[in-house]
């Protein structure tokens, strides 16, 4: 096993972040699925050695990870929050972080460029990060996680805020990394996203691992609940007209420059949405997010 936790707990004062978690993450891609506040980020920060366990133990590559910086070089971490110097260019920022792995400056720059190329950002590598779109920022974060050639990738909500095309591209990349022999732990609160990368999932809720194994078993549960999608686009009215003709769309709501859609058939909906974004026939789609209400409902059902 690449990651193993044994009765792992983490609390912040009176608040429990992670509660008596025992798990094992095998090589390949594993999805960490849970609503916001479930403990996904806490678990990832424990795995990357940024937090000390309050109780229990966690090992990565068979070694305790806390205060073990030698192991950090084997891990690539993509945090959920932005972590940039806006005045730096993409390549400067990635190269600076690669340099911390003991690589000389010239090699660090070359590795940064290769990683940026892998996430389709080579053309924008010399632009300042301040000028990057949300999707480009997500990709440059992925590049820094990948650049030093780690064996284990920890990706915290890597698809958050990406447009459908960038989302599809990133999912493809993550699958390629899994096929190339890397171990990837990727978190999300959207089942559809995780399902498109792997069938192996860990379900986390209120700091506890609720279920683990094959995604298809919880798939049916998810489908019983309507799925909400928030789309920020230039032509929201045209998109709404197109969606009205779709099967499974339950409701449409306009918000400030955005369209909020409830669908009973998320798979078909996302496929159609990606096709629309790629063709550009209904204007530019800037951002697609999904609130975790639907997943929350499933978790509530599971914990009953």
């Amino acid at each position: 096993m690449i990651i193993a936790a044994d009765h792992l707990s983490k609390w912040y004062g009176q608040v429990i972040g992670l509660n008596d978690v025992t798990l094992a993450v095998p090589p390949g891609i594993t999805g960490l699925l849970g609503p916001n506040g479930a403990g996904k980020s806490t678990l990832m920060k424990l795995i990357t050695g940024q937090l000390r366990p309050s109780q229990g133990s966690i090992t990565v590559f068979g070694e305790p990870i806390w205060r073990n910086p030698a192991s950090y070089a084997r891990i690539g971490f993509c945090p959920e929050q932005d972590a940039f110097y806006e005045r730096m260019t993409g390549v400067e920022w990635v190269a600076a972080l690669v340099g911390l792995n003991g690589v000389d400056e010239e090699a660090a720059r070359a590795m940064a460029m290769r990683a940026l190329d892998l996430v389709d950002l080579a053309g924008e590598a010399r632009k300042k990060i301040g000028a990057y779109s949300k999707g480009m920022r997500q990709r440059v974060k992925l590049a820094q996680a990948l650049a030093h050639d780690p064996e284990l990738l920890i990706l915290d909500e890597p698809l958050a805020g990406m447009d459908p095309v960038a989302r599809r591209r990133t999912i493809r990349l993550i699958r390629e990394w899994g096929r190339a022999g890397r171990t990837v732990l990727v978190s999300s609160h959207i089942l559809h996203e995780i399902e498109s990368m792997t069938s192996n999932v860990l379900l986390i809720h209120q700091g506890r691992i609720l279920a683990e194994g094959n995604v298809h078993q919880i798939r049916d549960l998810i489908d019983e609940h309507p799925h909400t999608v928030y789309i920020r686009a230039d032509e929201t009215r045209a998109l709404a007209r197109a969606f009205l003709a779709e099967d499974g769309v339950l409701s449409l709501k306009f918000e400030d420059q955005a369209l909020v859609v409830q669908t009973a058939r998320p798979d078909a909906f996302y496929t159609r949405l990606t096709a629309m974004a790629a063709s550009g026939e209904l204007g530019t789609i800037h951002e697609v997010t999904s609130p975790d209400d639907n997943l929350q409902a499933v978790f509530q059902y599971l914990v009953k």
Binding site: A73, A83, L97, G102, V103, R114
Partner: protein, 280 residues
């Protein structure tokens, strides 16, 4: 040869430097970043004006009989270091205020500390940046002045008569630079705004001096000098240069205050420099 090129990631075949040297990467990146800024180079140049004035003084004393009264003395070196106080302050504010605050604002600490870099290495790398610049305006010009004296005098008599001078310059500069650097880093870790940190540092320096000034004005007693950040540094410098104490405060008290300030700063850094901010 296959016409299809491998598009996969190519592994780094070179050597990786051993663990424990990542602080040097942080320090080198910081030093390079500041040397690229024109306004900072201007500040460095201005901070060397007193050095050039002292060079002229030493030259005149060595070559013009009527300027013999300008002859260098150990006091001259101590006074030079005290004169540099104002530049130490400006450089500390310019360089130091953002060293950790900017990383906190950019949320970069969580990424740095997920790399093979310990918190101690991170702090040491940041400290090295500020220390290097402060020593560049204190220890470096003072040591060069000593060399200039030897060159213009054409002999080693002055240095031989005051063998303690080079160690005194070195120790004084280190005490001053270390106290200022560690305090500034601790303040920088307290906020996400470098401006606020700059104001906080200025407040610490000026308020402590003003407090001492008021108490001195009321009591006419210099034994309150332990309250002043800069008076404590002056007191220790006088001791190192084997000169009479400028204040009535016993030097162990001044030293104790400075050690206390450094200890408090280290404690703040230990609590604040974390990849994940834990609010408990």
């Amino acid at each position: 040869m296959s016409p299809i090129h491998d598009q996969g990631y190519r592994r780094y075949p070179g050597e990786r430097s051993p663990h424990g040297r990542a602080w040097a990467v942080i320090a080198a990146a910081g030093l390079r970043g500041f040397f690229r800024r024109r306004e900072f180079l201007g500040l460095l140049l201005v901070s060397l004006f007193p050095f050039f004035v002292r060079v002229v003084q030493i030259y005149a004393a060595a070559n013009l009989p009527q300027a013999a009264f300008l002859r260098p003395s150990p006091e001259m070196f101590r006074d030079f270091l005290r004169q540099q106080d104002i530049f130490v302050f400006f450089i500390a504010v310019y360089v130091g205020s953002g060293l950790i605050a900017n990383d906190r604002r950019a949320n970069a600490l969580q990424l740095y500390l997920s790399k093979p870099l310990t918190r101690a290495e991170y702090v040491f790398g940041k400290l090295a940046i500020l220390l290097a610049f402060l020593l560049l305006v204190t220890w470096v010009p003072a040591t060069v002045l000593l060399l200039v004296q030897i060159v213009f005098a054409g002999n080693f008599t002055f240095v031989a008569d005051h063998l303690y001078l080079l160690p005194a310059i070195t120790l004084s500069s280190l005490v001053q630079a270390l106290t200022v650097s560690v305090s500034m880093l601790a303040l920088s870790s307290l906020s996400n705004s470098s401006r606020y940190v700059g104001i906080l540092f200025a407040g610490l320096v000026f308020f402590s001096q003003a407090l001492y000034g008021v108490l001195y004005a009321v009591t006419r007693d210099t034994s309150w000098s332990w309250m002043s950040f800069s008076a404590n540094v002056s007191q220790i410098m006088a001791l190192i240069f084997r000169m009479p104490s400028p204040y009535a405060t016993p030097w162990p008290v001044s030293l104790g205050v400075m050690v206390g300030v450094i200890a408090a700063a280290v404690l703040v850094l230990e609590r604040r420099v974390r990849g994940v901010e834990v609010v408990a």
